[in-house]
Every structure is written in structure tokens, then in C-alpha cells.
Amino acid sequence: MATDDPPRISHDEVRRIAQLAHLDLPAHEVDRMARDLGQILAYMEQLREVDVTGVPATSHGDEVGIVPRPDEEAASLPHEIALREAPSVEDGGFRVPAFADEG
């Protein structure tokens, strides 16, 4: 795909996607990300040319033979093991910063 195609992803759009993805992107990475995404998405445009009229979607390589296991009670991870790798613990739970008021 030609690299001299105009970038189709603006810096503002990169920042918006990064926010959706919960990903801090330092200012100096935004320009590079915009170029990379623009180039890769331009390549992916070829999918528009494919005739998929009446073709259903495939979500897995093999959808045959997949059967849910019986819904039975079973032992789960002991509490202290579940917490042992947590960056911060308080009162037997995962400690996190206060929720932001996004209202």
C-alpha cells in the first residue's frame, strides 16, 4: 500500500481511541501512532472489494462439537491466593483509587 496516502487518522482521533482503550499515549507517540494506524487501515480497505453477498460470518475456526460443561459446583481459588499478586490489598479485597465522578 502506498505510504504517501494522506493519513486517514487524525491526532484527535488517535487521542479519542486511546481514551476508549484506557491507554495513556504520550504526546510524542501520537504522531507515529496516527501514521501507523493510517497505513495499516488503508491496507485493510481491500476487504471492501471482497464480494461477501449472502456469506455468513465465522467467529471461530471450528464451531462444531463445542459443548458447555455441566453447571456444577466446584472448588474455586482460595481467597488469599486470589489476592496474593495484587498490587494493593485492603480488607480482604483489591484496593483501587477512588472512582472518578464521570457524571
Binding site: 500500500m1 487518522i9 488517535v14 481511541i17 486511546a18 481514551q19 476508549l20 482503550a21 484506557h22 491507554l23 495513556d24 499515549l25 504520550p26 507517540e29 501512532m33 501507523d36 494506524l37 497505513q39 495499516i40 487501515l41 491496507y43 485493510m44 481491500q46 476487504l47 471492501r48 471482497v50 461477501v52 456469506v55 455468513p56 460470518a57 465465522t58 467467529s59 471461530h60 475456526g61 471450528d62 462439537g65 463445542i66 459443548v67 458447555p68 460443561r69 481459588l77 491466593i81 486470589a82 496474593r84 499478586e85 495484587a86 498490587p87 494493593s88 483489591f94 483501587v96 483509587p97 477512588a98 472512582f99 472518578a100 464521570e102
Partner: protein, 505 residues
């Protein structure tokens, strides 16, 4: 220390340990010595010498008591690092799974996340008396084709250490190629077992989707992810697959079909098998030396009595676009779990939850992972979902149809694994699209969920600017067609025996 035992294939080492001719401890010591001597190749992120020796002693003691040993008795194995090993550091090649420490210098994989459980494949290997010696280097979170995206250090190709070993299971391939271990586990989402196997002259197998449990595999693209073996020879890979394959109620996509004896398929006649050769896999961009080697391998199959015929796989040219839309979409969803709350890294000094998430993920992920999360978020976002993700899933159906039609005409398909031999470290680091385009021959098997393997064919001859370098032959089969692939690969292997890199004497 006698490391020559490591030049024997995995199945043979197991038989020698089972018969008492060599001890599991001596094989494990040899492996630990070879890993230590080859550490500049960057094959391992974590080596578990004490644990491995303790496990080996236990195998030897059980034999001394007259107990029957498993089919991988005393076989030292490397495990790709996204596969969870209970209490043993597991980073998937990423700093996001290495907790922040006071006085922190470079992030150290030995301080990585300690999983609370073993992956199903680890339980099965240990149940067969294999010895887990360590965790293998990889592209971060399995995203990459060169192992240069490892957050810690790149792995290097033992055939030419200035070149990449492929990826993302590059560490596993290096460990096997350099005869540090006779077998290893890798994972393959778009070629990540077969491509490094091809570039390092080892055997790599991606089984049918669902054939091997993914329970305990840190997910990248769940509909595309597979675990499979790498080994020095076909029979060794077959033995490992026989151990790790089979239904697992903890993986909802795990298949219930009975597991055949893959090793028994090795050595079976391939006379009369119909081999399809798709022109789309020999198109522009295929390096002449690779083409010559793969065509030579197909001629060898014909001499073994196979019937070679041209087939058409017309969706192939859209493989890269289709795969990368689906894979990044699934990745952006799967990687949401890395949020600094329950395990791994948490970025400091942020006073609200959302800011903590973003700071942690910004600090913990490398450039390629960020790129794929961004792409995945984009293709799934409102207004673009139909144009990219849904459309790619529909094109994915065309890959299945291509293969279904082909396997009405032929028993297996033979192609190159990669368009070129191993490239130089650093050569493609700044061109992500070029890196993606080189995956074109391995992606279709993941999109369709069919089994595929890479077996070494004649190496590309040395030229003025490079030494002799390995080339892989890819064999693809219909769903659950692994046995015929092993029969073909082992028959071919008799015409082209495994080679060792220079310096691995």
C-alpha cells in the same frame, strides 16, 4: 558435562530414561548447562533449575521403585511464557505482568507474575513425567513475528545470531534449534509456532482449533489461539502433541474427539496421498531460494508416491487484512484484563481509577501491543464495526470454504511457511505493515482452524552476505487431520534429516 544426550530426539530421550539407560537428572543437568552456555541467544526468560532438578530426581526415584514412567519421562522442555506455570514467573514477554518494585532498574522477568494454577498443557506434560526447565522468550503477548517485541531482550537465531529466529514463539524455537531442550511448547495465533520453526530448522505443529486446551494460556485472539509443540524431529513433536491434546472441560472450545496415537502415524506409507499445491502461495514476493527448496520438497513427496496436483485457494490474497482485523479486535478485548488491579504492574500516584488504568497500560505495554489495542479498539468502535470487523468475519468464511473445497480434491496442502529466510535483527522494526505481510502463508490455517505444521526442508544455500539458513515446508490438513500431516512430514524427513546449526556440536 555430557550434553550429547540433547542431540537425541525427545521420544528417544524418554525411552532411555524409561529403560534406565540415562537418568532424568543427568538429562536435566545437561539441559541446564546448555541453556547457561547459550544464554546470549536469549531463548529463556526464566530458568527454573532447582525445580527442574527436583522434578527429575522424583522421576528417577519412581523408576528406582519400579514404577512405570510417562511417555515424556525426563524430557527437559521449554515452555513459551504466555502459558501459566503455577508459582513460576509468567510474563508473556510483557512488563505489564512484572510488578513495580522499589529501586527498580530494568524490569526483570524473574520477578514476573506467579500464576495460581498450571495451564492444562502443563498438568499433562508433568503427568507424562516431562521436566519443565524454564519459560521461553517471545514477542510481547505473542504479538510479533521476530521476538524483537519481547519487553526484555530479543532472541537470536542460532544459525546466524545477527538474524531473528522468527516469532512470536522465537525463544521456544531457539531453545530447540540450539539443542538446549529436545522439545518445547509454543503458541500459534497467526503462525507463531510454524514461522519460528521454519526459520530455525525445527519442527512446529499448530493443531486443529480446540484440539489442545487453551486453559491457562494468556489470551491474544481467542478464536485464533492454539498451543502446540516444537521439537527437533517429527516424531518428538508427535509424542508431545499426543500428551497435550484432548478434551478439557475448563476450555469451552475444547474438542471432544478422541486423541489418536500421532506417533504411530509417523512412518506410515504416504503412497497415493493427494497433495494440493496452491499457486497463490508461490506468488510474487516469494524468495527464489525459498521457492526452490519448497518445490524440491514437493518433488520429494512425489517420489514417495504422493500425487501432486494444483489447487486454488483464492481468498489467500486477503489473509493479512482479514486476520489483522479479527486478531486486533479480539486482542483489544482480551487485553482489557491488564488494568493494574489484580496482578502485575500498577502505575503509581494516580488518584482516580480510570487514570490509574490508563497510566498502567501506557507504562506496561510496548509499541506493538499498543498499536494492536488501538487498531482493535478502532475496528470495533461505533461506525466502523460493520465495515471492518463484521466484514472480516464474513471474509473469514471464504477461507473455510476455500479449504473445504480443496480438501474434497486433496488429502493435504503443501506450501512455503514464510516468503523469505530469517531477516536481520532491526530490519523491519519500524515497518509494522511489512512485518504483517510476511505472515501471509501461515494466517489462513488460523482463520480456518485447520491443522498445519512446519518441517525443515533443504536450507537456502549460503550467499556472499549470509550463511546457509533454514527453510520450512508447510503441510496443512482438514480439521483433525493431524495424523496424515505427521505421516507426510515423517516420510519427508527421511529424505531430509534434521540438521543442527553451526556451533551446536
Amino acid at each position: 558435562m555430557d550434553e550429547s544426550i540433547l542431540h537425541r530426539p525427545a521420544w528417544q530421550i524418554a525411552e532411555l530414561v524409561r529403560s534406565g539407560e540415562v537418568s532424568a537428572v543427568s538429562v536435566t543437568e545437561a539441559a541446564l548447562g546448555a541453556i547457561q552456555r547459550g544464554r546470549q541467544l536469549g531463548a529463556f526468560l526464566t530458568v527454573q533449575g532447582d525445580r527442574a532438578l527436583a522434578a527429575a530426581r522424583s522421576v528417577d526415584e519412581r523408576r528406582a521403585r519400579g514404577e512405570a514412567l510417562g511417555v515424556l519421562a525426563g524430557v527437559p522442555m521449554g515452555i513459551k511464557d504466555p502459558i501459566c506455570t503455577k508459582d513460576v514467573p509468567t510474563t508473556a514477554g510483557s512488563k505489564i505482568l512484572v510488578p513495580a518494585a522499589k529501586n527498580q532498574g530494568e524490569a526483570d522477568p524473574d520477578r514476573g507474575w506467579r500464576p495460581p494454577y498450571d495451564a492444562t498443557v502443563i498438568e499433562r506434560l508433568v503427568g507424562a513425567d516431562a521436566i519443565v526447565v524454564g519459560k521461553c522468550n517471545m514477542d510481547e503477548l505473542a504479538m510479533g513475528s521476530s521476538t524483537e517485541n519481547s519487553a526484555f531482550y530479543p532472541a537470536k537465531n542460532p544459525w546466524d545470531p545477527t538474524r531473528i529466529p522468527g516469532g512470536s514463539s522465537g525463544g521456544s524455537a531457539v531453545a530447540v534449534a540450539a539443542r538446549m531442550v529436545p522439545a518445547a511448547l509454543g503458541s500459534d495465533t497467526g503462525g507463531s509456532i510454524r514461522q519460528p520453526a521454519a526459520l530455525t530448522g525445527t519442527v512446529g505443529v499448530k493443531p486443529t482449533y480446540g484440539r489442545v486446551s487453551r486453559y491457562g494460556l494468556i489470551a491474544y485472539g481467542s478464536s485464533l489461539d492454539h498451543i502446540g509443540p516444537l521439537a527437533t524431529d517429527v516424531r518428538g513433536a508427535a509424542r508431545v502433541l499426543s500428551v497435550i491434546a484432548g478434551h478439557d472441560p475448563r476450555d469451552g472450545t475444547s474438542l471432544r474427539a478422541a486423541v489418536p496415537d500421532y506417533e504411530a502415524a509417523c512412518g506410515q506409507s504416504v503412497r497415493g496421498m493427494r497433495i494440493g499445491v496452491p499457486a497463490e502461495y508461490f506468488a510474487a514476493g516469494l524468495e527464489p531460494a525459498v521457492e526452490a527448496s519448497v518445490r524440491g520438497a514437493i518433488e520429494a513427496l512425489a517420489r514417495l508416491g504422493c500425487e501432486v496436483k494444483p489447487i486454488e485457494l483464492s481468498a489467500t490474497r486477503h489473509a493479512v487484512a482479514t486476520y489483522y482485523v479479527i486478531a486486533v479486535a479480539e486482542a483489544s478485548s482480551n487485553l482489557a484484563r491488564f488494568d493494574g488491579v489484580r496482578f502485575g504492574l500498577r502505575a503509581p500516584a494516580k488518584n482516580d481509577l480510570t487514570a490509574m488504568y490508563s497510566a498502567t497500560r501506557g507504562a506496561g505495554f510496548g509499541a506493538e501491543v499498543k498499536r494492536r489495542i488501538m487498531l482493535g479498539t478502532y475496528v470495533l468502535s461505533a461506525g466502523y464495526y460493520d465495515a471492518y470487523y463484521l466484514r472480516a468475519q464474513r471474509v473469514r468464511t471464504l477461507f473455510r470454504r476455500d479449504f473445504e473445497a480443496a480438501f474434497r480434491e486433496v488429502d493435504a496442502i503443501a506450501t512455503p511457511v514464510t516468503p523469505a529466510v530469517a531477516f536481520k535483527l532491526g530490519e523491519k522494526v519500524d515497518d509494522p505493515l511489512a512485518m504483517y505481510l510476511a505472515d501471509v502463508y501461515t494466517l489462513p490455517a488460523n482463520l480456518a482452524g485447520i491443522p498445519a505444521l512446519s518441517v525443515p526442508c533443504a536450507p537456502a544455500p549460503a550467499t556472499s552476505d549470509r550463511p546457509e539458513l533454514p527453510v520450512g515446508l508447510q503441510l496443512m490438513g482438514p480439521p483433525l487431520g493431524e495424523e496424515r500431516l505427521f505421516a507426510l512430514a515423517s516420510a519427508f524427513e527421511t529424505t531430509c534429516p534434521p540438521r543442527k546449526p553451526p556451533g551446536v556440536a
